[in-house]
Amino acid sequence: MNIAQTENKNFRDAWLRFKKNRIAYYSYKMLIFLVVLALIAPFIATDMPWYCKYKGTHMFPAFSFANGCEVKDVQSGQTEKIQYDIADWKHLDAESIVFAPIPYAPSKTDYDNSDYVSPGGKQSFMTSNGKMVDMPGRFRHWLGTNKAGQDVLSGLINGTRVSLLIGFISMGIASLIGIFLGGLAGYFGNKKLHNSRGVCWSITLGIALGFYYGFFIRSYLLKDALAISNAELVKELIISLFIFTFILFLFYIVGKLLERISWMKKQVYIPVDSFVSRVIEILISMPLLILIISFSAIAKEKSLVNVMVIIGLTSWTSIARLTRAEFMRVATLDYIQSAQALGFKQRRIIFRHALPNAIAPALVAIAFGVASAILLESALSFLGVGVPADLVTWGSLLNSGREKFQAWWLVIFPGFAIFVTVTVYNLLGEGLRDALDPRLKE
């Protein structure tokens, strides 16, 4: 049996063990449900109807890319323009209309039911002729409304999207950084990554000069590009990066040439491990929430992307720590040593042999990381920091319940949603750990 097959078998074994763990498996299924819910949220909780026939015209507003259509009145010959996102569908005199299961958009307000209407309480509906009647069943706010009259259930369903997006993207960033740095630190340690004195010095100088010519001189160019558009900025950044890499490459060659002098040929060790460990220690000693709050204070505008990036940049430490430990372990194993003895390139050993085996513990850390990222985001929107005010998230819904203690539905439901999602990820991480930990394998 060769290495690849063993690895495959290990993963299959782990999967089987994971499946046997009932709680973990259910949480895995729950996660899939949440992901599907997040994907279809804009279709099942929207005020745009799925289908509408109005004056003989068929419309599919919820599924349409266009935001409106023109309806021609056959009798009068006049055309009427209907804009999908602002049309008053509930009062439209349509021949037939099919609403989404939850016929409310998360951020839109129902003026007739504003000011905290409870789920079981009296909800009113204004008919087309201006009479207030009891809310018909299909338009009911099943989980009540908040002060502005926004539907809580719709907010919850659409909030799934925000929460999962935060989890995935921020942990995506964090795992890239964490696995890269942790892998470097674990594999190379302090004594394995070395190069000649000439190359090291030359490269250091190259980085400084590359930064100077690539970014420093061009700083106003980049600033102006940002003022024009993001695409322009990306274009200029690519040019800057190109200049930077080119200079670095140039200096690498110079360093190689310098090696002809014997004094320059002496090997210098790069203490990767100490460096990474110190960075991790510094990050750990900063209270994450306060760090994120400070960063978002200097961000020019509130945006979800900023929050994701900041969470990603600050919460990679546990991933890096676990990957580091695993790489350290793997690096001493026989098969890596034999791969080294066979003269394989470092890159190949790291990516083909060490990484697949070291990734399992990182996976566990990522699952827990997603849970804490979701928790962090909901805490931030609960505090109203960093996340745009008009975005309806679980945290912001929960926060709106703080203003009025009688509105229990604003506290119970969004909080429960956060709780369930966080628990699912924690259970998943737990299950993964049990399944992947070889010590438990009998």
């Binding site: 400084a208 000069l209 930064f211 100077y212 010519y213 420093f216 001189i217 106003y220 110190r278 220690e281 510094i282 750990i284 000693s285 900063m286 209270p287 994450l288 929430l289 306060i290 760090l291 709050i293 400070s294 960063f295 978002s296 204070a297 200097i298 020019k300 849970a371 928790l375 909901s378 805490a379 609960f382 505090l383 920091v385 929960l398 319940g401 703080r402 203690f405 009688q406 229990w408 506290v411 119970i412 909080g415 956060i418 709780f419 966080v422 628990t423 924690n426 259970l427 737990e430």
Partner: protein, 489 residues
């Protein structure tokens, strides 16, 4: 041992420096102009006319007082063409305009001369006392309008760097100057600016922009921030974090008055959490596999996943809600009317107790769930060791085995946990203090964010980080004391 502790202290220093650097970096990049926040905007009327002499002096004063007339850091990278005194120009827009001009033409001396000429023109009194007869004539308002227009154009000119914009401004000012004969002297002066500009154009040395240069400054903003300047600031080392934008009071005074409650709740919760979780975790490990253990560990797990702010809000709407149960007050840490006059310590505690219960529960539960789980795991590991079996074979009682042999060795992770629990408790204080309106650092941080009070935000970040670092330090030293093997590694 002493060696180890000393070494641990030495590691503390670079971490501390990096933390201060990070805080400083955030404060330098904070949007908005600190001087503008400080200079009272009370006398502002028209946008340009507020640039009165008095206000300019104020700006210069505050720039000096806040140390913004210093270079940012010990080292700076610049090009050969750039001036190493550019930071002395206190207006951000003007500074950027000059910097951009340097980037284009690469001859700082000429650009400086050009800038000085504009400044001289700006300071010129367009209407001399000798002209007072004209000023009292019928054209008075019109003339004043023109003077204002010229002033505002000059301010714009100072902040422009684009060739087209500058030439356009020249034309405009020239046109305005020609409107009345009494400006003839100013016109002459203005001509020099134009000449300077052309000269600058002719003597351009753009190649200088491509030669890097390193500058070193012994006295700079970071140094001043850290160590003070002996005049206005004592420096972070001595606990001076600058002046709050909102209250104009020293940040350290405000924080000192708020630190108490945060530290109180943090310590209280950590102590309570240890008290509850040690017996719980040990029991769970000992009764492994039993039904009650499974249930209790599930509950612990659920508690662990429960967001603190949800629990806090739930507690509030249940136990501090006049409609349900009104057992505890909803906010604050003491009666609204304050303590009774002359109340003793115990009376104060009694008055505050109802306010403390709910927050204390919320502060405690999350770290306690986390702690019990860790203690359980580490106890489980110890219980499988050979020496436990030996102890059993020796005929020791269960109690002796658990508390004397097993628990001692399970202590290590419990101690290291102290280092991890502390930052989460301090970080968590932001939310809980906001919910329960506790006058601590956390709620101060949120208030500072909403007011863009950057010195405050940075001070809180730095202080909490240092507190955490100290927590780590204590944990490490305790660790070495409990397990002497550590210090020999």
């Amino acid at each position: 041992m002493l060696n180890y502790i000393l070494k641990r202290f030495l590691i503390f220093i670079p971490t501390f420096i990096v933390i201060t650097l990070l805080g400083f970096m955030i404060s330098v990049n904070a949007p908005g102009d600190p001087v503008e926040r400080m200079v009272s905007a009370a006398e502002s009327g028209d946008a340009v006319n507020t640039q009165t002499r008095n206000q300019r002096e104020q700006i210069q004063f505050w720039t000096h007082k806040l140390g913004l007339d210093l270079p940012v850091f010990y080292v700076s990278l610049s090009s050969l063409s750039q001036s190493d005194t550019l930071y002395k120009i206190y207006d951000k827009d003007e500074r950027e305009a000059l910097d951009r001009l340097v980037g284009k033409y690469g001859n700082w001396e000429e650009i400086q001369r050009y800038y000085q000429e504009i400044n001289a023109f700006d300071n010129l009194q367009l209407i001399r006392p000798a002209d007072s007869t004209i000023i009292h004539g019928p054209d008075r308002n019109k003339i004043l309008d023109v003077v204002n227009a010229i002033k505002s154009e000059t301010v714009l000119l100072k902040a422009s760097y684009d060739d087209v914009v500058i030439r356009h401004a020249f034309e405009k000012i020239n046109h305005l100057l020609q409107a009345y004969p009494l400006f003839s002297a100013a016109q002459m002066k203005f001509k020099i600016i134009g000449e300077r500009y052309e000269h600058l154009f002719a003597t351009a040395t753009p190649w200088k922009n491509y030669v890097p240069k390193l500058n070193f400054y012994a006295n700079n903003q970071y140094h001043r921030w850290l160590f003070g300047d002996g005049e206005f600031s004592k420096g972070l080392i001595k606990g001076d974090f600058g002046i709050s934008y909102t209250s104009k009071e020293p940040v350290s005074n405000i924080i000192l008055s708020k630190l108490g409650w945060t530290v109180f709740f943090s310590l209280l919760s950590v102590i309570l959490a240890y008290f509850v979780s040690i017996p719980l975790g040990v029991r769970a490990a000992v009764n492994r596999g039993s039904h009650s253990e499974k249930i209790s560990s599930l509950i612990l797990f659920l508690l662990y996943s429960m967001p603190a702010f949800w629990l806090a809000t739930l507690l509030l709407i249940t136990f501090a809600n006049p409609d349900v149960l009104h057992w505890f007050p909803a906010s604050g840490v003491k009666p609204v009317t304050g303590y009774e006059e002359g109340a003793g310590f115990w009376n104060k505690v009694k008055a505050s107790l109802p306010y403390i219960v709910l927050p204390a529960i919320c502060y405690t539960y999350s770290s306690f769930a986390f702690l019990s789980r860790t203690i359980r795991v580490s106890m489980l590991e110890v219980l499988t060791q050979d020496y436990i079996r030996t102890a059993k074979a020796k005929g020791l009682s269960d109690k002796q085995i658990i508390w004397k042999h097993a628990f001692r060795n399970a202590l290590f992770p419990i101690i290291t946990m102290f280092g991890t629990v502390l930052p989460s408790v301090i970080g968590g204080s932001v939310i809980l203090e906001t919910i329960f309106t506790i006058p601590g650092m956390g709620s101060e941080a949120i208030e500072a964010i909403h007011n863009n009070d950057y010195p405050m935000i940075i001070a809180i970040l730095t202080i909490t980080s240092i507190l955490t670092l100290i927590g780590f330090l204590i944990a490490d030293i305790l660790y070495a004391i409990v397990d002497p093997r550590i210090s020999y590694k």
